[in-house]
């Protein structure tokens, strides 16, 4: 926090530079079949109030019983964030009235969370790595959903989400720009998805963030912060921060002061607006939930979970750099999704890894992005892309033809080798045939030949002509060699 401000991240105001300070509270829905304290299903998209147990509806005399799978998921996540796991933690009641909160309190962890301090390393596009401190992670219940648009004068309540387990992951105020924050949430999402502890599906509300924003002059103490509640996409998180930082700077530069308050982000208008101020803030009257004993487990329990953790993105990235000689950036792109990394590894195995990385990142990702497809939905499997790379390596096809072949495989499907055979895409390697074409071109262009003898750069023009007349099927290296010999350069 006391590191000098990075100039590139400062925001220019009318009266000089400002530094924005951001901390995030990310709410990640735990991947589990049942809710945190009841056996009801967590499945998304059921009929309203179809996944509601007596406990979720807070019927009289009902008691919560902790779902051990949710505890394991929280521990796994803590381990993935290199965080301290607390062998004893306590569930508290956070008391407030709301129609979609049946108990009149949310069971959460207040003073003693299950996971303590940890860290996430966030790679920025410019090559910088931002270290984001994790303050804590705790388990809590989600609320239900109020529906205000179903009836002219009444609100409806859907309790399907009521009691679903959430992990609240609280960062330290270590982020200094909207890009930092977006990259951090992206990284968190990657880690959660690798661990299988949250599906990270923001459209289903599986990942939401409360964003704390303040601004200050570089080097000065922290300013007053505002909390923007429940922002539900990475893009919106960026927009909300940009807007909120500008708003606060505007107020301060006009000689005003920032009121500590809770704000909402309006994605339609791209702005934040006040929800409630400090005076209206709830007094949640936290106290330990007497229905639940403190949550306790031993180190062996944690160690067992640790032993079965998958390879995490940072480790995988380091391995890709080390074992495949990839650039840190390329490795970072490839490990951002576990499925992508797996795809890449299948293609790269026993092949030119750098070439494989190029193909996966440029051709495959480019095409997937263009069509808005997920890697799981790629029409070209890792085996087929590997076959294309093998055809290049054997010299059967040129890189250019390979791109055409990729296109055919993408839109029509089929085995790359069979397509090459069937469509006569094989590279011409017969030097006699190539020499014939070279001879023709040389004979037809005496002036260019004369120029080429003094200016070697013209060799490229000759190569182009030969490739053109052969339909791209000749080996460019062979053409190059023959032309040099023929032209005597």
């Amino acid at each position: 926090m006391n590191a000098p401000a990075k100039t590139s991240k400062l925001i220019k105001g009318a009266s000089g530079d400002w530094e924005v300070v951001i901390g995030l509270e990310v709410h990640a829905q735990v991947s589990s079949k049942a809710k945190l304290f009841s056996g009801a299903s967590t499945e998304f998209g059921g009929e309203p109030n179809s996944h509601v147990s007596l406990v979720d509806a807070a019927m009289p005399g009902m008691l919560p019983v902790i779902n051990e799978e949710c505890v394991k998921q929280a521990i796994r996540t803590g381990l993935g964030l290199k965080a301290r796991i607390n062998l004893k933690s306590v569930f508290d009641r956070k008391n407030y009235f709301y129609p979609d909160l049946p108990q009149g309190y949310q069971i959460s962890q207040y003073k003693s969370p299950i996971v303590g301090e940890g860290e996430a390393m966030v790679d920025m596009p410019g090559g910088e790595t931002v270290h984001v401190g994790i303050e804590r992670l705790h388990l809590e219940q989600d609320a239900g959903k109020s529906l205000h648009d179903q009836h002219p004068s009444m609100s409806f309540v859907d309790l399907n989400r009521s009691g679903v387990a959430l992990m609240e992951i609280v960062s330290k105020p270590d982020l200094r720009s909207a890009d930092d924050a977006k990259a951090y949430v992206g990284k968190l999402r990657t880690i959660l998805r690798y661990l299988g502890t949250c599906d990270g599906d923001m459209e289903k509300g599986s990942l939401r963030a409360d964003v704390n924003v303040s601004v200050r002059r570089p080097g000065e103490p922290l300013g007053t912060r505002c909390e923007i509640k429940n922002v539900n996409s990475i893009r919106f998180i960026g927009q909300a921060i940009e807007h909120e930082a500008r708003r606060q700077i505007g107020i301060l530069e006009d000689g005003g002061k920032i009121d500590q308050e809770t704000r909402l982000f309006d994605p339609g208008k791209g702005e934040t607006r006040s929800m409630r101020n400090k005076e209206e803030a709830h007094d949640y009257r936290y106290f330990p939930d007497p229905d639940l004993l403190p949550l306790e487990f031993d180190q062996a329990y944690v160690d067992e979970l640790k032993a079965h953790l998958p390879e995490l993105p940072d480790e995988k990235k380091a391995r890709f750099v080390r074992d495949f000689g990839l650039s840190a950036y390329d490795a970072g792109v490839l490990v951002s999704e576990r499925a992508t990394a797996d795809y890449f590894e299948a293609v790269a195995k026993g092949r030119d890894a750098k070439l494989a990385a190029n193909w996966v990142i440029n051709e495959l990702f480019g095409r997937l992005n263009k069509e808005g497809k997920d890697i799981a939905a790629s029409p070209i499997t890792a085996e087929r892309l590997a076959a294309i790379l093998d055809l290049i390596a054997e010299g059967t096809i040129s890189g250019k033809i390979a791109k055409d072949l990729f296109e055919i495989c993408w839109s029509e499907g089929g085995d790359p080798r069979a397509i090459v055979e069937a469509r006569g895409l094989k590279q011409v390697t017969d030097t006699g045939a190539i020499a014939k074409v070279v001879d023709e071109i040389v004979a037809a262009n005496p002036e260019k030949v004369a120029q080429a003898k003094t200016n070697e750069k013209l060799l490229g023009w000759f190569v182009g002509q030969v490739m053109k007349s052969s339909g791209g099927k000749v080996n460019p290296q062979a053409v190059n060699d023959l032309l040099r010999k023929k032209l005597g350069i």
């Binding site: 007596l54 009289p60 005399g61 919560p64 008391n95 129609p99 009149g104 009257r285 106290f287």
Partner: protein, 491 residues
């Protein structure tokens, strides 16, 4: 057949076994008695159809030689227990029409063992009270009257209906709940036996919560042996209540008649209050003498933090209650009073749905948990609680097997006599019993005599955690010496 209602559970069990009478006859006798005793207001709901059906099923199982441990025994259920398909109100207007779709674990255990449900008994609203006067359904009138007077007396509370039903022969036994004395105090007021087991012995699942860390279910009966029989059926680990303890349930009845020779019984000096009636003092001494005569060793002990127990209790219990009762908001079930908006609806629903004592405790609880007051009240009360627990542990570790104290500071009082001007006057009823809940220990109230006006008085025995057996042995010794106390029928 009238005498069927005056049987003990153990007698009735023998009679059913010998086919001296049927479960149906036993149930009918009780249903008839209940009908004649409506002046007591002990039951808020009689369930004759269910009783008939259950008794019939019991007779069939008896005939088939498949009788359970409580087969055919008619039982009354405090209205704090949720009973499937049977209205369960907690004595509150807010749950006046609430019919649960589930059965509490404790009552399910009773039906599993063959017991027959007679109905639901009256209690103070959400079990908050010591006289059964805060019930939405009106006060319960004690079957006891002062000698030569007909002033209506309270049966104690909050389990006043269960206590009155057992005392007036309207059930062979009844369930109660005890958060600060709600079983033991009404037992003492009605000449019945009331046992609050160790916290965690009975499942709280399906019992309307008052103060979760203090609430325990327990039995009301006319003899100590019956209490042992009933508690065995009620107890047991329940995976649905994580505070219930996974520990085998002993055959408590085997403790009845077991020698108490050499047992060390502590007399805590802090329970000798200023201004305590001489009769209570005498009763207490007499109780000690009886135990001594039966071979126990009586020793003076000190529980130094006793005086802080009552104030600490009246912080912890309302704090938990304020949160536990937040679910009664008119949104999903129970009373709803329409309002301009959601806040107005909450306010109107809760203002009309809760009676004054419940509202008072919700407000106290909300206050003591509020920012700025939490440390001074709630946290401090929890520290006191730890000290109270330690006081007991120190004595038990020094070899004391159980404590003997009065159950209440006085005999029953008249309806409307106490707590009208100052609620604390009512709260003082629990002075001897709250410590036991705060420490999570088992406690039993056993009838030990009558006061000068002919009203029953009880003695309380407090045991080590999960040593209910010791309390049954000692309690029975007192019962043997003191005899039983039965009210003159006037209703």
């Amino acid at each position: 057949m009238a005498e069927l209602t005056s049987l003990t559970i153990s007698d009735a069990r023998d009679g059913l076994k010998k086919k001296s009478f049927s479960a149906a006859e036993l149930a009918d006798a009780h249903l008839a008695a209940m009908e004649k005793a409506r002046a007591l207001n002990a039951y808020v709901l009689e369930t004759p159809e269910r009783a008939h059906a259950m008794a019939k099923a019991s007779d069939a199982r008896i005939a088939a030689g498949k009788a359970g441990p409580l087969e055919g025994i008619p039982i009354a259920v405090k209205d704090m227990f949720c009973t499937e398909g049977v209205r369960s109100t907690a004595g509150s207007r807010i749950l006046k029409n609430f019919i649960p779709a589930y059965e509490s674990t404790v009552t399910a255990n009773l039906w599993r063992d063959g017991a027959v449900m007679l109905g639901k008994t009256n209690n103070d609203e959400f079990a908050m009270g010591s006289s059964n006067e805060t019930s939405h359904f009106g006060p319960v009138i004690s079957p006891w009257r002062r000698k030569g007077a007909n002033t209506p007396l309270v049966p104690g509370g909050s389990s006043g209906g269960s206590a009155a039903a057992v005392a007036a022969n309207l059930a062979l036994g009844a369930t109660g709940t005890d958060t600060g004395g709600s079983i033991r105090q009404p037992a003492a007021f009605t000449g019945t036996v009331g046992m609050k087991p160790t916290y965690g012995r009975c499942s709280r699942w399906g019992i309307v919560a008052f103060a979760s860390s203090l609430d325990q279910a327990g039995p009301f009966t006319r003899t100590v042996r019956d209490a042992a029989i009933l508690l065995r059926a009620m107890s047991g680990h329940d995976p649905k209540d994580t505070t219930s303890v996974d520990r085998a349930v002993p055959n408590y009845e085997a403790a009845i008649g077991k020698s108490i020779k050499g047992m060390k019984i502590g007399i805590p000096k802090e329970y000798r209050l200023d201004g305590m009636p001489a009769e209570i003092e005498t009763l207490w001494r007499r109780g000690a003498d009886w135990l001594k005569a039966a071979g126990a060793e009586i020793i003076d002990v000190s529980l130094p933090h006793t005086k802080y127990a009552l104030p600490a209790y009246y912080i912890v219990a309302p704090a938990e209650a304020s949160s536990n009762l937040a679910r009664y908001d008119g949104v999903r079930y129970g009373l709803r009073v329409a309002g301009r908006d959601i806040t107005d609806m909450y306010q109107k629903t809760r203002a009309e749905g809760f009676g004054p004592e419940v509202r008072r405790r919700v407000m106290i609880g909300t206050y003591v948990l509020s920012a700025g007051y939490y440390d001074a009240y709630y946290l401090r009360a929890q520290k006191v609680r730890t000290l109270i627990k330690k006081d007991f542990e120190d004595c038990f570790n020094a070899g004391v097997h159980a404590m003997l104290t009065p159950a209440t500071p006085s005999a029953a009082f008249g309806v409307g006599e106490k707590g009208q001007a100052d609620p604390v006057e009512m709260y003082l009823n629990d002075v001897f019993t709250v410590t036991v809940n705060m420490a999570g220990l088992p406690g039993i109230s056993v009838p030990a005599g009558l006061d000068g006006q002919g009203l029953p008085l009880g003695l309380q025995l407090i045991g080590r955690p999960f040593d209910e057996e010791m309390l049954f042995s000692l309690g029975e010794a007192i019962e043997q010496a003191a005899g039983r106390f039965i009210p003159q029928k006037w209703w």
